[in-house]
């Protein structure tokens, strides 16, 4: 690690502006950091040549006085965003070798704002997972180690992005979040992860998992950085009919440091049975910090919280089964067929060979809950419960400005744990899924360490399109918590 890889986006932006270093120098430092930590498997595809080329172009642009919001800043891009001319796999064998002929709107926005792409970061296959153990391209390893030196999961699905940012391989990374895939890995890796309001960032060109839930967002090492990067990603896009036709605020300006008089809700239903003491304590500490900063803390009730996970595990697989029908072995990706096979044989063999076990399970669950005879009992029922969950939040936001909860029920666990039963893995997202179903912005930030020295995160949830309040409260919490710990080997 060098000084150049330990900067925040904000500091790197200032250093570039002052001419302390060039984008090429900054980018070269990160390319070296990426190469020296290949054992973490954070990237599926490294793009060092493209990065240098983009950095050179950025330096030239800057020399002419043309400076974008992310000018010259090297980042990792989750391998779920289609990048023109660069392999995009969604961590699936079925898309191995797929070279998009177009650029996703979010990456186009970032590159238009001057960002430099270092490579495509690893993830759970089709973003389905909470530990980054379902990637066809191998597990990602968390830069943080267990006390006994065991390898830990980085969380998921944006596990490669989180590991790259925590491991100082990239200044920041894009993530996507369907049920917690930005926030939970951010918590496991000790970084900031912001899932914006549904509709804030365009989904165009992002490989679809569950279209009514998927949302792109920034993964960074500070709250300010999240504000900077979100501003460069967001915006209305006519190519995504669910993209909100709203102006992008100056998110950085929301970081006033002043939350006096604000009301923060603490939902009693999140204090689940068997919550580990250290998570409960982390939460209590967060409450105290916000109170000390002049906010008033209010107990609230979100009565349908316990039904959020089962609702999610109907809605998300249902949408996935429909979205993933496109992988047919005909138009792109893998194709498995033998002489004399029918078209159905081609579909079935291709999809059996191309999808991993968890993806196959979710497609089948989704197919089942949408099938004749079960549609009303499962899918339609889940949509109605989703309405209740949405109403719970709407009621709460009648009285509070933001909600504070833990991000995840534990710190990062060892690779191999929670893999014997699919439902056990699903429980990781118990605190993140409700905001996803309600489409609300949620941000995880590191506020403490577990007894074993691993990062723990708290989550702030805001009103629709009020990322500014989430960022403002998050900024105050960040200052109060003063989280400065780094993975072993990266201190200093």
């Amino acid at each position: 690690m060098t000084d150049l890889t330990n900067l925040t986006l904000a500091a790197a932006r200032d250093g570039l502006a002052k001419g302390d270093y060039t984008s090429v120098e900054l980018t070269e430092a990160h390319i070296a950091a990426m190469a020296s930590q290949r054992d973490l498997n954070a990237f599926i595809t490294e793009t060092p040549e493209k990065a240098i080329e983009m950095a050179r172009a950025s330096d030239a642009k800057r020399a002419k006085g043309d400076v974008g919001k992310m000018e010259g800043l090297p980042i990792a891009v989750k391998d779920l965003f289609c990048t023109e001319g660069v392999q995009t796999t969604a961590a699936s064998h079925i898309l191995e070798g797929f070279i998009p002929q177009y650029e996703s709107t979010v990456t186009a926005n970032l590159f238009g704002n001057g960002a430099v792409m270092l490579g495509k970061s690893n993830l759970d296959e089709f973003a389905m997972g909470s530990a980054n153990v379902t990637s066809y391209f191998g597990n990602v390893i968390n830069p943080w180690k267990a006390a006994d030196g065991k390898n830990l999961v980085p969380g998921g699905s944006s596990g490669g992005s989180a590991a790259a940012v925590a491991g100082r391989m990239a200044l920041a990374a894009t993530g996507t979040d369907t049920g917690g895939s930005i926030r939970q890995p951010a918590a496991f890796c000790g970084i900031v992860g912001l899932k914006p309001t549904y509709g804030r960032c365009s989904r165009w060109g992002v490989v679809a998992f569950a279209s009514s839930l998927d949302q792109a967002g920034p993964m960074t090492r500070s709250v300010r950085d999240a504000a900077i990067m979100l501003g460069a990603m967001a915006g209305h896009d006519p190519k995504d009919s669910t993209s909100a036709p709203m102006a992008v605020p100056d998110f950085e300006a929301a970081l006033t440091g002043d939350i006096r008089g604000m009301k923060i809700g603490i939902p009693k239903e999140y204090r689940v049975d068997g919550m580990p003491d250290e998570i409960a304590r982390l939460w209590d500490d967060g409450v105290a910090m916000l109170r000390d900063a002049g906010a008033s803390v209010v107990d609230i009730s979100l009565p349908h919280t316990k039904y959020a996970l089962p609702t999610y595990y109907i809605v998300a697989p249902a949408e996935a089964s429909s979205n993933l029908a496109r992988y047919d072995g005909v138009r792109f990706g893998l194709r498995e067929v033998a002489e004399g096979d029918s078209l159905d044989d081609l579909y079935m063999k291709t999809r059996a060979a191309g999808f991993g076990k968890e993806v196959q399970r979710r497609i089948m669950i989704g197919t089942y809950v949408l099938s004749a005879g079960y549609y009303d009992a499962y899918y339609n029922k889940a949509l109605k419960v989703r309405r209740r969950i949405y109403e719970d939040f709407a009621n709460a936001f009648g009285t509070v400005d933001a909600v504070l909860t833990p991000t995840a029920p534990s710190a990062a666990f060892a690779i191999g744990e929670n893999q014997d039963d699919p439902v056990k893995m699903y429980l990781n997202d118990v605190f993140t899924v409700p905001a996803s179903l309600a489409g609300l912005p949620g941000m995880s930030l590191p506020t403490g360490l577990s007894a074993s020295g691993l990062p723990l995160g708290l989550q702030l949830i805001g009103k629709p399109f009020d990322e500014e309040t989430v960022l403002r409260v998050g900024g105050v919490l960040e200052s109060a918590a003063g989280f400065t710990a780094k993975p072993a080997g990266l201190e200093g």
């Binding site: 002929q101 009514s212 089962p310 999809r351 089948m364 209740r388 439902v423 629709p464």
Partner: protein, 96 residues
Amino acid sequence: MSSLDKETVRKIAFLSRIEVAEDALGELAGDLTRILDFIEELQEVDVEGAAPLTSVADLTLPLRKDEVTDGNIQQKVLANAPLTDAGCFVVPKVVE
């Protein structure tokens, strides 16, 4: 408590167009049953009067002029196809 038998799993797998080996049906039935048991909890929720929420996007679908906005990109469309011929995707014979 719902429990899926092998026959039902075979049917779901076919609807999903995913080939499942005969000896893998049992384990898969177990996994899917555990997931179904987990989501079964929803049956106890009172949803009287609740309208299904398919999307939180509070939007009416935007309309645009019905006109061609792209095209002439045959090479791009076919660039990632596993098998093409004369500018077409190739599939096994479907009509005898």
